[in-house]
Each structure stands twice: as structure tokens, then as C-alpha cells.
């Protein structure tokens, strides 16, 4: 019987909920940093890490030895660590005669491995005996029923059947299943990488795959249909219900089952989930597929693969598994040991032998022998570890005097402590980082200026901007500000020559306005080089041509390879010269009036009708008159009944005339509803004057720049440049949706330079001097170069200052490269600034360079406040700096905007780096060296793997050790406490992040010179003293 609609909806709902735990995976063309545990942010950080690590089989903290390394380098506050340990001990019963805090601190700081092993056979009395070198006490063996319970406890209730079979029978059904699912996903979700498309994709993932699936899957479908005396349900939900019933999964376990299934390939699941929930995504609209399809594919393959192994007498339902555990507990126990991670190595061979023979007597003998051996081994290993700890603690006598109960207490305490130690290390590391940051913070107001700065430059809040800002401020009279890289203007941007829109804003926002890039230059013929490149590409992509052309033109690719490898800088310059340069462009920024929009639609309709007449009647342009076109248009729109001009010209009869007009309506879309649709589309283009004024006001107010404008106001977007790097967009501007920030800079500059906008700004108390000019620029974060744009619009009187400006940014760029390069390549510390800049440029052009730059690695801080707060200290490219002046924000709107947008994005970035560092294989994406692009939207390791979702090892690790220092985002707000607190409390998402410990929040109140730190559910108050260089220490305030 087919499942009812209610059942199907219930399946869909359960899978939807199961998918919530998996973070979205955005296509890598516009890489979006995200928190891999985003779905668990409703939980406190520690709980979420525990749950997430279980779900994704990952680690949530660094290994102890890594933290010990940080401790040795002074990057962890030992006092804070000690205090945490003491606090932990207050909740535990201390074993008699032992100084538990000292033991635990020793365990943390002087031992490198787990001290309380997961013992399944030996008990504390055995450990006691092993410590005394005595025989283990006598003990009765478990009964069959007790053993069955133990085995069941090893198999979680929501564990998929194939995982249980793999765990008990050593099969690799899970691996095979994953491989086939990945293959299916690659075929279906491909976005143009494959030469041959999967057929029938428009029918949906499950339907299309089912038709192409192998003979084994089709055989399963037939068997199911026969067993049910009906045809197999064609849709995904029906298939899922039927298969769950066949496998014998209890209905109350379905949700958990789906959760495990979805999490198994969480990269693919994240991509499918994002894709199916994104409106207007071309590929999703054309080829729909969602998590229900994915689960259906997995279920059908599960059943198929299990049935294929029936000849090996493997259980294929939960009932059969249950029966095996109940009737043959010893065999099942040995199986779970042999195929599990805790096998006693010395007995591997006899256990395998007994399992292969399946002889009950032999199994019973081996079982007894194995348990005894395991008990001895566990007791001995545990005793040795406790002895090592006691030795490190210099308290061997204390250990020796412990009774079995004392050892039980000690082991219990160690076990609980080791479960939580990651959090203690993390908190102590954050404490030290916070102290270092606070030391550099100065509340002293900046000295008054006699004249306006030479240049004011607005940079993205990105951590990489901190360095260049510092150097720019150092080389001359430059005043810098930090603002989200989209400059507060969400734009959908259509670049010249591109047919699709790029959303230039954080993914939290959806732009309403479209900006087009246009050029006045006449269309040019395709450059010869481009034509050759296209031909080469097609030759490479074709299925057959490589076989016949490799000898003929293979050498050409060789020249390319030699050039790119041996002399990347010179070779790339040569190539760039051969390429056609992009012409000067303008942005279509202003909204059309109703009349203008009507006129455009009319013009488009006329052009279409002209083409239609040319094609249908083979008329030459000189025979097509304006009157004829007007008549046809009016008729198609229903305002007239025919076109006498056309009839007269061609001698058509009424029937043919009406047929053509009908074709104009149906085929050429000349009809009122489509005209209305076009008008709506045109309505998206550009910004009204009010909108432009609002965005400029918001941008300037949010950073506190409302007076004393310089002659040059640079709006510096940022982007990266690297070769052969699928992760290139991960190095671009996150606030611009993983794109370059130049277009956003150009948009705001155009708005702010507009006289009408400036007039309106004056009415809102922002008086921009007439000679102040907003200049868009792009900071290339790989080379640190800053390029100025739209200089053709620069007023003539500014040109004489342009050299000084160029010299300033060049000097800052070189100094920045000099500071940054030693962390990228050995020997770079010896380079002067110009050499460092050249090396950085080479990195950006070297196709073999797996780490063109460190990107946002080592990010740790988010500072919301005036520049003077951190101006006197170098933050080593670790801080997001958002300018903010609370005095301009009495209604808190600006701060709320900063918290709800930039801070949330920064937290995603921070968490992505955190988790990619602590477990690069599971949360990160492993080494780039093994990556292959999949379907043009992601990367896989090797030729078949889960989509790699996090950051590659080369971004966060250096020689296998963490380069990024994984701490939660330490956020500082400079504002009166009540002011900041009110803003935080009013932004629900941020309030949740702070309260659950995903963000560490520190409010520095400049009016009372106090610090308020949110820790463990309460605000801790302390006075703030200025220690930053050049500031005068203040007297502490009374709190």
C-alpha cells in the first residue's frame, strides 16, 4: 500500500529537521565562510561542540600537546588555567590523600596522552592489582544476557543498518554506498564540468538517478514491487517509507536514522540543502533535487548493497541483527571487537580465525581467553598511565596508598576532566589573548587636528586591512576607517560582459537593487588570443580530440607550463599584454523614471518586432518602416486589430496577418503581461535619490565620519589574485558575498560624489566639502597593492595631488608586504620592502603556489569603536576593525546594524577557521594538493569524496601544526555599558551568540573607563588602565 500524503509530509518534515544540523555549503565561486556547527548555535558552545563532534565524528579542540605548545610560548594564561582546574575540582570528590588540582594541572601541562582510558573489562580493583604487580582478583564472567546488553550499547539506536553490519562483519558497505551516492551527486548536480550530461535531470534527483541506476538497484526495485504486490512508489518519500519498513527500522527511530544519513556526507548534504532552499538559483530551478531525494537514493542503495551480500549470510534487517546478538552474543562480541578500534592486537589472529571458522566451541574458548587478556591489558595500561602521572606529579606514594575506591574516584575525576579539558584550555587561551588586546587599547581621545587629513581611507573590516591601514597611517597624513566591505550598500551587480548577477553583500542580506556595468566603447572583435584559448579549451574538453591532437599540439601546452612554472611573473605579464584590456566603464546607478522605463520597454519591443519581421518574412531593413512596427506592436498588445502597412507590403491575407500577430504574442512575448514583467525588472535597476542619500548617510555615520572631509576619500574594497586556486574567492571579501569589493566601492563613490546627494546630506548635518572626492580603490590582499579606479572622473584640481597619493599607497603596500612575507616564506625576513613586494607579486602569479596568502588566518578580535582605540598598537592582522562612534548613535541603530551584519559574518569566519584548525580533516578540507574541482561548485579530495566544506590545511596549518590560533571571536565594543548592552540585547541572533559563548564580548565604557566582560553567564566588571604606547596611565575607577 502506498504511503498516504500525511505520511509523506511527515517524512519530508523529518528530513527537513534532520538537515537543519548540517550547515549550508555555498558554491565555491563565491566562497562563504560559515560555522560548521551553525545548526547547533542554539546550544552553549561546549554542548554544541560535544554534540557536533559526535555527529560529524570530529574533534572540537586541539590535542593537549598543541595547547601545551601554546602554554610554552606564553599564549595561554596559566593562572586562568589553574583557576579553571580548581573550579572544576570543587565539583568533584577528591580521592583521599591526593591533591587533585595539582594532579590535574600536572596532567594538563606535563602529559601528552589520555590518562583515563575507556576501559570496558578491567575495573578499578584490577587497576589496583596491576599497580601492586599482583594477580587480578577473581571475577565471574558476564552472562549471555548481560553480554547482549553490552553489545547493544555499542550500537547507537539511530545507527544505520549498514553501519551496524560493517561494525560487526567487517564489510565496507558504508564506503561503497557513499561512493555510489557521490557518483550520483556528481552526475546530477554537475554545473557544466562534464562533457556529457546526465539525461532527464529536469525530472528531479531521485527520479533521474533511478532510471540510470545499475542493474542491482533495478533488481531491488522489482523485488520490492513483487513483495508488495504493487509497483514501487515512484516518488522519493514512498521509496523511503517502504525501505524503512523492509529494513525493520522502528518508526520512532526514523528521525534519528535520517539525521545520521544526512550527516554522513555532510558536504554534499549541505550543498543540496543550500541549493534547494535558494530562490532563483538557475541550476536548482532547472534540475530540482533536495535532501529527501538524497535520503531516498541512500536508502535504495542501502537495501541493494545489503541484499547483494546475502550469500555471505549477513543480516539484512534490524530483526536479524537483534536475533544474532541474542542468540550468539559471544560471537557478536568478538566481531564488534575485531572490527572495532579496541581490538587487543596480540589476539587479532586467533579471533579472526575463530570468526572465520564459526565453530561455537572455538568461539567460546577464544572469547574467554580474549576477555581475560583484554582485562589484563586494560588494567596494565591504566596502571602505567596513572604511574606516569604520579611520577610527573612527584606523588607516587599518593597513588600507591589509594584503595580501589580511591582509584575509582581518581579515574572518574580524570575521565570527566579530560572530557572538558579542551574548554579549559580554550578559555585560558582566550584570557591571554584578551589581556594582550586590552593592553593595547587606549581610551585617550586623539589629539585635535589643525587641518584636515590629506586622505581619508575607508577599508573593509577584514583582518588584512589592519596591516595596510597601520602602514598607510604611518607613511603620511592618512586617516583610516573600517567598514564592512560592501560599504553598507547591498547590490546585485551585473558586470560588463557577464550574463549573471553577483550579489555584493553578506549572505544574510538580499539586495533589492541591480547595478549594471556598461561601457561607451564600441563592441570589439574577440581578440585573436582569446579565440585561440577558446579553441584550445574546447579541444581539451572534448571526449575524442585529446586522442588525436595530443601529439600535434601537446607541445603548446608544454610551453605554457614551462612559462608558468619557471618565470611566472614575466610570463603572466606577457599574457596580460596579449589579452584585451577591459574598457573604461560606467555604472547604471540611477533609477529610471516611469517614462524612461516605458520608453525602454517600447524600444525593446520594437527591436524584437523588427527582428521578427526580418526573420519571418525575409524583409530587408530598408523595407521595414516605423509605422509598420508601431502597428504591429499595438496589435500585439491588443490596442489595434491589424497592421495595414505589413499587409500592403507583403500582400498578406487576414488569416496570415493575424497568425503573425499571434506569434508575436506567444513566441516573441510582445504582450501586456510580459511588458509588465519587464517593467518590474527595470524597476530593480539603480537606486532612487533617497536611497542613495540614505546609504551614504548610513555608511558615513556608522563609522563616525561626518565632518572634516579630506580632499581624497578613498573607498578601498579588497580582493585577492592567485592562480590555479579553487579557493580564490575564500580570499576575497566576505562582506561582498565572496567577491571583489571594487564594485561596491565604485557604487558608494558614485553616490557620494553626486551633487544632489551631497545637498541632501547637508540637510542631515553631513557637510562634505566641495573639493572632497570619493575615489574607489582595490586592495589586492595577495600583493598588498592598492589600485585607484575611476580616475577619469577626478576633478582636474585633484590631479596635482595624485602623485603624492600614489606614492603613499605604494609605500604602505610595500611595507605591508615586508611585514607579512616572513610568515609565508622562509628567508623573507631579510628582504627589503621592494623585494618583499616583488615576492608577494610572484606568489599571486605562481600556479604551483598552494598558499598565496594566509587570508584571514589568525583572526581573533573584532573591535567596534574609534580608530584611536587601537591606533597605537599593532594587531598583527588579527583584528576585524569596525569604526564606530557611539556619540553619533543615540538610537543604537548603527550599532545594531554592525552587530547584526558584520559581527555575525565575522563570527562565521572565526568559527570556520576555528573548526578547520582543530580538525582539518573533518571540519576543514584537508590538503589542497589532493583537491579536484567537482561539478564547478566545490572540491573533493581525490576523484571521489564528500564535498570538502571547510578551509584547506594550507590556510590554517603550517607544516601540520596550527598557524591559526583557534579562539572564539573576542569582540570589543567601545561604548557606554548600558548603550552597548541594549544594542546587544535587541539583536536576538547576537544575544544568543554571546550568551551561548560563541562570541566573547567585552564592552569598554569610555565614560567610566571600565571593562565589562561576559563570562559564564554574568558580566564581570573591572577598571581599564591605558597601557598602550604613548598613552598616559589613568587612575583606576572605583567599581
Amino acid at each position: 500500500m502506498s504511503p498516504s500524503i500525511g505520511e509523506k509530509l511527515s517524512i519530508r518534515a523529518m528530513i527537513y529537521v534532520a538537515g537543519e544540523q548540517v550547515p549550508f555549503f555555498w558554491p565555491m565561486r563565491s566562497f562563504i565562510h560559515h560555522n560548521p556547527l551553525h545548526g547547533l548555535e542554539h546550544l552553549p558552545f561546549a554542548d554544541a561542540v560535544e554534540k557536533g563532534t559526535h555527529l560529524f565524528h570530529a574533534s572540537g579542540y586541539l590535542p593537549r600537546t598543541a595547547y601545551q605548545g601554546y602554554l610554552a610560548q606564553g599564549k595561554i594564561d596559566k593562572d586562568a588555567l589553574d583557576a579553571s582546574v580548581r573550579k572544576f575540582c570543587t565539583t568533584r570528590q577528591s580521592p583521599p590523600g591526593l591533591d587533585l588540582p595539582r594532579w590535574l594541572m600536572t596532567a594538563l601541562c606535563k602529559t601528552g596522552r589520555t590518562l583515563a582510558i575507556q576501559s570496558s573489562v578491567a575495573d578499578p580493583a584490577d587497576v589496583r592489582a596491576a599497580l601492586a604487580d599482583a594477580d587480578l582478583p577473581d571475577r565471574t564472567e558476564l552472562t549471555a544476557a548481560q553480554l547482549s546488553i553490552k553489545i547493544r550499547a555499542r550500537l547507537p539506536r539511530d545507527m544505520p543498518l549498514y553501519e551496524i553490519v560493517d561494525a560487526l562483519y567487517g564489510t565496507s558497505i558504508g564506503l561503497e554506498l557513499d561512493e555510489r551516492v557521490i557518483q550520483a551527486c556528481l552526475d546530477f548536480f554537475d554545473e557544466g564540468q562534464s562533457v556529457w550530461d546526465m539525461p532527464e535531470r529536469q525530472r528531479g534527483f531521485f527520479a533521474a538517478w533511478k532510471d540510470l541506476a545499475g542493474r542491482d538497484v533495478k533488481s531491488t526495485l522489482k523485488q520490492l514491487a513483487r513483495a508488495r504486490s504493487s509497483t514501487m512508489d515512484a516518488d522519493a518519500e514512498g521509496a523511503i517509507v517502504q525501505i524503512l519498513q523492509v529494513l525493520g527500522v522502528p518508526m520512532e527511530e526514523w528521525s534519528g536514522y535520517f539525521r545520521r544519513e544526512v550527516a554522513r556526507l555532510h558536504g554534499w548534504a549541505g550543498f543540496i540543502r543550500w541549493r534547494s532552499s535558494t530562490k532563483n538559483y538557475y541550476w536548482a530551478q532547472r534540475y530540482p533535487g533536495d535532501l529527501v531525494d538524497l535520503v531516498a537514493v541512500r536508502m535504495l542503495l542501502t537495501l541493494t548493497l545489503l541484499r547483494k551480500r546475502r550469500h555471505r549470510r549477513l543480516p539484512t534487517t534490524f530483526d536479524e541483527i537483534e536475533q544474532a546478538i541474542t542468540s550468539k552474543p559471544q560471537e557478536m562480541y568478538l566481531r564488534s571487537e575485531f572490527y572495532g578500534p579496541n581490538l587487543v592486537p596480540a589476539l587479532a589472529h586467533p579471533v579472526e580465525d575463530a570468526l572465520l571458522r564459526r565453530n561455537a566451541d572455538l568461539l567460546a574458548r577464544v572469547f574467554v581467553d580474549y576477555r581475560a587478556h583484554k582485562r589484563r591489558q586494560e588494567a596494565s595500561v591504566q596502571a602505567q598511565r596513572l604511574t606516569d602521572l604520579a611520577t610527573a606529579c612527584q606523588d607516587s606514594a599518593g597513588l600507591r596508598q589509594l584503595s580501589a575506591e580511591g582509584i575509582a574516584d581518581l579515574l572518574q575525576a580524570l575521565r570527566a576532566f579530560e572530557k572538558h579539558e579542551g574548554m579549559l584550555w580554550l578559555q585560558a587561551m582566550e584570557a591571554k589573548s584578551t589581556q594582550d588586546l586590552v593592553k593595547g587599547i587606549s581610551l585617550a581621545p586623539p589629539p585635535p587636528r589643525e587641518k584636515r587629513p590629506f586622505v581619508q581611507a575607508l577599508f573593509c573590516i577584514d583582518t588584512r586591512s589592519e596591516r595596510i591601514r597601520r602602514h598607510l597611517e604611518g607613511v603620511g597624513d592618512y586617516q583610516t576607517y573600517g567598514i564592512a566591505g560592501f560599504f553598507g550598500v547591498p547590490v546585485s551587480f551585473m558586470e560588463l560582459g557577464k550574463g549573471s548577477e553577483n550579489l555584493l553583500c553578506p549572505v544574510l542580506l538580499t539586495p533589492k537593487n541591480l547595478v549594471l556595468e556598461m561601457t561607451a566603447a564600441a563592441p570589439q572583435d574577440q581578440a585573436a588570443l582569446s579565440a585561440v584559448e577558446k579553441a584550445m579549451h574546447e579541444l581539451k574538453e572534448s571526449v575524442l580530440t585529446p586522442f588525436v591532437t595530443v601529439e600535434a599540439i601537446g607541445l603548446l601546452f608544454g610551453f605554457d607550463m614551462v612559462g608558468k612554472t619557471l618565470a611566472p611573473t614575466a610570463y603572466n605579464r606577457l599574457r596580460q599584454r596579449l589579452h584585451e584590456h577591459k574598457p573604461a566603464t560606467h555604472l547604471l546607478l540611477d533609477k529610471f523614471s516611469r517614462e524612461q522605463a516605458d520608453s525602454i520597454v517600447r524600444a525593446v519591443q520594437r527591436a524584437v518586432i523588427v527582428k521578427a519581421v526580418e526573420q519571418e518574412f525575409r524583409l530587408e531593413p530598408e523595407h521595414i518602416t516605423d509605422d509598420m512596427i508601431r502597428e504591429l506592436r499595438e496589435s500585439a498588445l491588443g490596442h489595434a486589430t491589424g497592421s495595414p502597412g505589413l499587409v500592403a507590403m507583403l500582400g498578406l491575407d487576414g488569416e496570415h496577418e493575424q497568425a503573425f500577430i499571434e506569434r508575436l504574442r506567444t513566441d516573441y512575448r510582445i504582450e501586456p503581461s510580459f511588458a509588465k514583467f519587464q517593467l518590474e525588472r527595470l524597476g530593480r535597476i539603480g537606486f532612487s535619490l533617497d536611497e542613495q542619500t540614505r546609504f551614504v548617510v548610513q555608511a558615513l555615520r556608522s563609522i563616525g565620519l561626518v565632518h572634516n572631509f579630506s580632499r581624497f576619500v578613498l573607498l578601498v574594497g579588497h580582493g585577492s589574485a592567485s592562480e590555479n586556486n579553487p579557493y580564490e574567492s575564500a580570499l576575497d571579501c566576505g562582506a561582498c558575498g565572496g567577491n571583489h569589493g571594487l564594485a561596491s566601492a565604485r557604487v558608494l563613490a558614485r553616490m557620494a560624489n553626486k551633487p544632489e546627494v551631497r545637498r541632501r546630506l547637508r540637510a542631515r548635518d553631513i557637510d562634505i566639502a566641495d573639493d572632497a572626492w570619493f575615489v574607489p580603490a582595490l586592495h589586492n590582499t595577495t600583493t598588498d597593492e592598492i589600485h585607484l579606479y575611476d580616475l577619469d572622473a577626478l576633478p582636474a584640481q585633484h590631479l596635482i595631488y595624485l602623485d603624492r597619493l600614489r606614492n603613499g599607497v605604494t609605500a604602505a603596500a610595500r611595507l605591508c608586504a615586508q611585514e607579512r612575507l616572513p610568515s609565508l616564506q622562509t628567508g623573507a625576513a631579510e628582504l627589503d620592502a621592494a623585494q618583499a613586494a616583488r615576492s608577494a607579486r610572484r606568489n599571486s602569479m605562481d600556479w604551483s603556489q598552494v598558499r598565496p596568502e594566509w587570508g584571514l588566518s589568525r583572526n581573533a578580535f573584532f573591535v567596534i569603536g574609534r580608530r584611536s582605540l587601537t591606533e597605537a598598537t599593532g594587531l598583527d592582522g588579527r583584528a576585524f576593525l569596525h569604526s564606530y562612534d557611539y556619540r553619533l548613535d543615540p538610537k543604537l541603530r548603527l550599532l545594531e546594524n554592525i552587530l547584526s551584519g558584520p559581527l555575525v559574518v565575522a563570527q562565521w569566519i572565526n568559527m570556520e577557521h576555528y573548526f578547520s584548525t582543530v580538525d582539518n580533516e573533518r571540519f576543514g578540507s584537508g590538503s589542497k594538493a589532493y583537491h579536484n574541482v567537482a561539478g564547478r561548485f566545490g572540491v573533493m579530495t581525490g576523484n571521489l569524496s564528500d564535498l570538502r566544506t571547510g578551509l584547506p590545511a594550507q590556510t590554517v596549518l603550517d607544516n601540520g601544526l596550527p598557524y591559526h590560533e583557534p579562539v572564539r571571536l573576542i569582540t570589543v565594543i567601545e561604548a557606554p555599558f548600558e548603550h552597548a548592552l541594549k544594542a546587544v540585547e535587541s539583536v536576538v541572533s547576537v544575544k544568543r551568540l554571546v550568551r551561548n559563548g560563541w562570541v566573547r564580548l567585552l564592552i569598554i565604557d569610555p565614560e567610566t573607563a571600565t571593562r565589562h566582560y561576559y563570562d559564564e553567564g554574568e558580566w564581570q566588571l573591572s577598571p581599564h588602565h591605558d597601557h598602550a604606547p604613548g598613552t598616559k596611565p589613568e587612575e583606576p575607577v572605583t567599581t
Binding site: 596522552r113 581490538l343 587487543v344 592486537p345 596480540a346 587479532a348 589472529h349 579472526e352 580533516e921
Partner: protein, 251 residues
Amino acid sequence: MLIGYLIAGFFLPLFPMSMVFNVVLRRLPGIAARSLVLLLWPQLGLVLLATLGTPVPSWLGAWALATAILYGIRALSLRDLSTWIGFIAVAAWSLVWVPAAVTDQTGLLHLHALSFSIPLILLTVLGFGLKERFGAAYAGLSSGLARTVPRLSSLLVITVLATIATPLFPNFFTMLATITLVTPAAPSMAIAVAVVWLLLTWAGARLLQDLVIGPPFPDPKPDLDRKTTWMHGSGLAVFIVIGLTLSGSLL
């Protein structure tokens, strides 16, 4: 005569007599005893064979090839290194019957057997090294050796390559010589020898995949010291040099 051949079949193992060798090898406790058995076992068989006179009947060659294929296939799924060594030894030594069916150069046959025995002895030594460190030399249990004990795993890789007759090692020339010798008389046997070679290579690759590749062992283990590494490496180098020196006569 037949009984003599059957007795020789214990030492140049033919199934089912081969099971005796595997039982003996498994029960021997130390490196020295096992090495001695691996060195002398086939040589005893060859001495016995010499007393019976060569060439041997061709049906024995077919029996030997069936044995080699059987053990080659079985070695594909073995995880215990010491058992693997025993099975590969059986597969390799049984191949000696094949040239013995077409040639009477007993000296050459002794070298053939020796060329397989030596890498198996070196592998036995490494197997004990693994057992000391990980409790067992068992594929899949102690995976990721390359990152845990890089020196030991390097030697392991080279020694397994030597065992499965990759170029430059003497048994590579042994296999070539065997194929060259039997091709004129019995091309089908030459093909069967090539199949055995393929199986040995496959078994070796699987073993290495399960031992060497993968995430590192959770508990760090001591690697081989430099001196032992050099000694073992030198042993392999000498083995290669001897093989290259003698390959002219082998071919």
C-alpha cells in the same frame, strides 16, 4: 620416485603438504628460527629434488602452479603479516617446480629459491619490529605507519616490493627467467606464472595500503634507530647488487 616427489612437496610446498610449512612457521617463536626455516626449507626440498633427478614430470609443474595461484589468491585477504609471509613463501617456492620441469640446472634453482627467501627473512625481521611496537603486525590494526614510524615503514615498503619481485630485485629476474624458460615448452604455464606474479604484486600492494597509508597511530611509537635502518637498508642494497650481478646467468 613418486614418494620422493611427495616428500619434496613438503619443502617446495605443494598443496596440501604446504600446510605443514605454515604450521611450522607460525609456531616458531623467534626471528632466528623463522629466518632459518625461511632460508633452509626450500633448499632442503631442492637437495631432495636433486637426488631424484631433474627435470621433474610436467604434471608436478601444473600442481605447483595451482598451489601458487591458490596461495596467491588467499594472500590477497590476509591481514596477519607472519601468515602473509608464509603464504607468499609457499606461492613463490612452489614456482620452483616450474623451471625444474624444463631444466636440470639445480644451482640455478637454488638461487631461484634464495631470491625469494631473503626478502621474506628481511620482512620477518620488520614484522617482529612491528609486533614489538604495536602488539601485532596486522594490516588494518596498525595502519598509518608512514606517519607514525617513517623509517620502519620506508624499509617495510622496499622490502615488500622486494618480496613481490619488482624490478632490480633478484627475484624479478627469477620470475623473468622462469617465464623465459617455460615459454617455449609450455606457453600456458608461462601465462600461469605471470598470473601468480600479478597475484603476488596485488597482495603486496594491499598489504602496504592497509599498513602504511592512513592517519597516524594515536599513540606515538618509537621508530627504528639510524643504525638498524642503515643495516637493513644496506642488506637490501647488497641484495640488489647481488641480483644485478647474477642476473646475467639467471637470464
